[in-house]
Amino acid sequence: MFLYKYYTNINENELIETFFTKLLKSSQKLYKLKLNYQKIIYFIEKVVIKLGGTSMEKPIIQIENLTTSFRIKDHYHAAVDNVSFSVNENEIVAVVGESGCGKSALALSIMQLHSKDRTKMEGAINFKGKNLLPLNEAQLNKVRGKEMGMIFQEPLTALNPLMMVGKQIEENLDYHTKLSKEQKKTRTLELLSQVGIPYPELTYKQYPHELSGGMRQRVMISIAIACNPDLIIADEPTTALDVTIQAQILDLLKSIQQKTQMGIILITHDLSVVAEVADKIVVMYAGQVVETGTVREILKNPLHPYTKSLLHSIPSAITDKSRLHVIEGIVPSIAKMDRVGCRFKERISWIPEEAHEHSPELHEVETGHWVRCTCYQHFHFQDEKGEMITHDIT
């Protein structure tokens, strides 16, 4: 597995080469070394980890205090507000929340696909040791598609209707590899069969509208993984699909990940999907991370009122017929949001004001399990009268 990855990742070979040639050549170009310093360190660390076979997790991407603001009528409003988390190799991190919570905005922020003239981004996206935020468009283009792929929700609109499916996959190779025409085609066919398309040769020449929803999503995936990226961002990849197809696509993603060790950021609103595939969960509400932790931890022991409420409102396939939980009110729109205090306050009005923090912080309640605002300690469902659910903090 590892060797395969190593072998195909031309990037790293190049790096070693440049490192040594630059070192040996002239001192005049030493400043260039500085530029690559972080990257080299990252690389060395990676090599060391891999050679040593330690299970110590090393993040592919670290998002630090990322804030993305959109301009609406001359004012900037943060849709992604001070979000930090990281994704390790071979890890699936699910970002969960209702629509309007900023998950998709986050996904597009990482890829920096927002319209530049109406978006403001702050913080850092450290991807393989390099901050992506200050990069210009051309530099970003070397990362996008090559080291970082994206899968979108609606595969029909996300594929160019006038371009043969094969060509759309090849396009990725056009700009990131130096493969010959035949090699590209071979690689594309290989990718198509890798994502479980039964007749790659035929599908290569088909147009998106000629494929079923599931097939299209497979094509999307093959576009995203064409250059063996280290990270894939999947924005609601199964929402538009039937449940059987959803299962297939999720299985496919997992099996690809096993082969390539890539990290996946899975954006979804469906907690049962999360339960199926994710390793870590980031729960977002109103642009903020309100709770994060491992899947097992969060699903077994949800702490934040929002997470709890969400879990209780699922008409689960396992639990029997009973009343579902309802979260009062609606997700505030980013332009109208009150940015002071706990953002979930209004929807749990029966919880006393004092329970909330003045400016809510993330608290680590267990290793790797973080919860925002102290209100979780005092939270109870509205019908569970008065009974405090306290949680001991270790």
Binding site: A247, L271, A275, I314, P315, S316, A317, I318, L324
Partner: protein
């Protein structure tokens, strides 16, 4: 008591083709479906997109033309009624639509939206009308002040509740709910589902619940039918279907439901794999040469499966 009985319902759409654009074939959207609804129960129709479940629902409210078969409502076959004949039945059979955004006319006030069926069937003074509507708004948990507002001023869940209020004003006996929550967020979905349950109790409603989310169907329905390519492949109580699926398609469908328990994911994946393989192997056993499911055969008093 049987409220609705659907017998061998077929809805075919013509496919035009060939040189003269003649009808060369039909899309058999619904191809011989039979089921019954007892008064007061909730019956679920579940299946993939394109399985014909929505078409079946729409055929019952005459939004789709019935090709053949019977739709017996309180014993009367309304399948081929003209729009005039059907009018009295419109009061008794109402529909809740999937998309809360498109199902309310954006140019109308809530008052006019909810009053539309009333105005078609009953005469009320504006004062009475307003009162009736405010009552219904109250029942679906919306403020009576909102009658002068427009749909866009409401959230998706609220809109869906306005749609529900509209369908209630004529005091129907049967409500066809066509994926009423699939466009909503989980939390809002919960709200609407709760309401539907409350209202059923209050108004003694019978629901035909069409959906693709097996969780929701399970949660809502007493009995359910699984549809595949315009045919019912299995019918039974929710418990029977979930715990003891007999048809390979049902099995596959159940296996695909993601589980909230992360610890069982590996087992589930393996199980899914097994069902999938079985599906491939025994496809011909469950479907005839044309890929059509067989007619339903009872395996218990409540449980029927499409087996050869």
């Amino acid at each position: 008591m049987t409220l609705l009985k659907v017998e061998d319902l077929k809805v075919h759409f013509p496919i035009r083709g060939g040189f003269f654009r003649t009808v060369v074939d039909h899309v058999r959207a619904v191809d011989g479906v039979s089921f019954e609804l007892e008064e007061g129960e909730t019956y679920g129709l579940v299946g993939e997109s394109g399985s014909g479940k929505s078409t079946t629902g729409k055929a019952i409210v005459k939004l789709n033309k019935v090709t053949s078969g019977k739709i017996l409502f309180e014993g009367q076959d309304i399948a081929n009624y003209s729009s005039r004949q059907i009018k009295p039945y419109r009061r008794d059979i109402q529909m809740i639509f999937q998309d809360p955004y498109s199902s309310l006319n954006p140019k109308k006030r809530v008052l006019d939206i909810i009053a539309e069926p009333l105005r078609n069937f009953e005469r009320h003074s504006p004062g009475e009308e307003k009162k009736i509507i405010q009552d219904y708004l109250d029942k679906v948990g919306l403020s009576p002040d909102s009658i002068y507002k427009y749909p866009h001023e409401f959230s998706g869940g609220q809109r869906q509740r306005i749609g529900i209020a509209r369908s209630l004003t004529l005091k129907p006996k049967l409500i066809i709910a066509d994926e009423p929550v699939s466009a909503l967020d989980v939390s809002v979905q919960a709200q609407v589902l709760n309401f539907l349950q409350d209202l059923q109790e209050e108004f003694k409603l019978t629901y035909l619940f069409v959906g693709h989310d097996l969780g929701v169907i399970r949660h809502m329905c007493d009995r359910m039918g699984v549809m595949y390519r315009g045919r019912l492949v299995e019918e039974g109580t929710s418990k029977e279907i979930y715990n003891n699926p007999q048809h390979i398609y049902t099995k596959r469908l159940i296996a695909a439901i993601p589980d909230l328990e992360p610890s069982v994911r590996e087992e589930k994946a393996i199980a899914r794999q097994k069902v999938s393989e079985e599906y491939e192997q025994s496809y011909s056993k469950y479907f005839d040469e044309k890929g059509r499911a067989y007619d339903l055969k009872p395996i218990s008093t409540t449980h029927r499966v499409a087996l050869p």
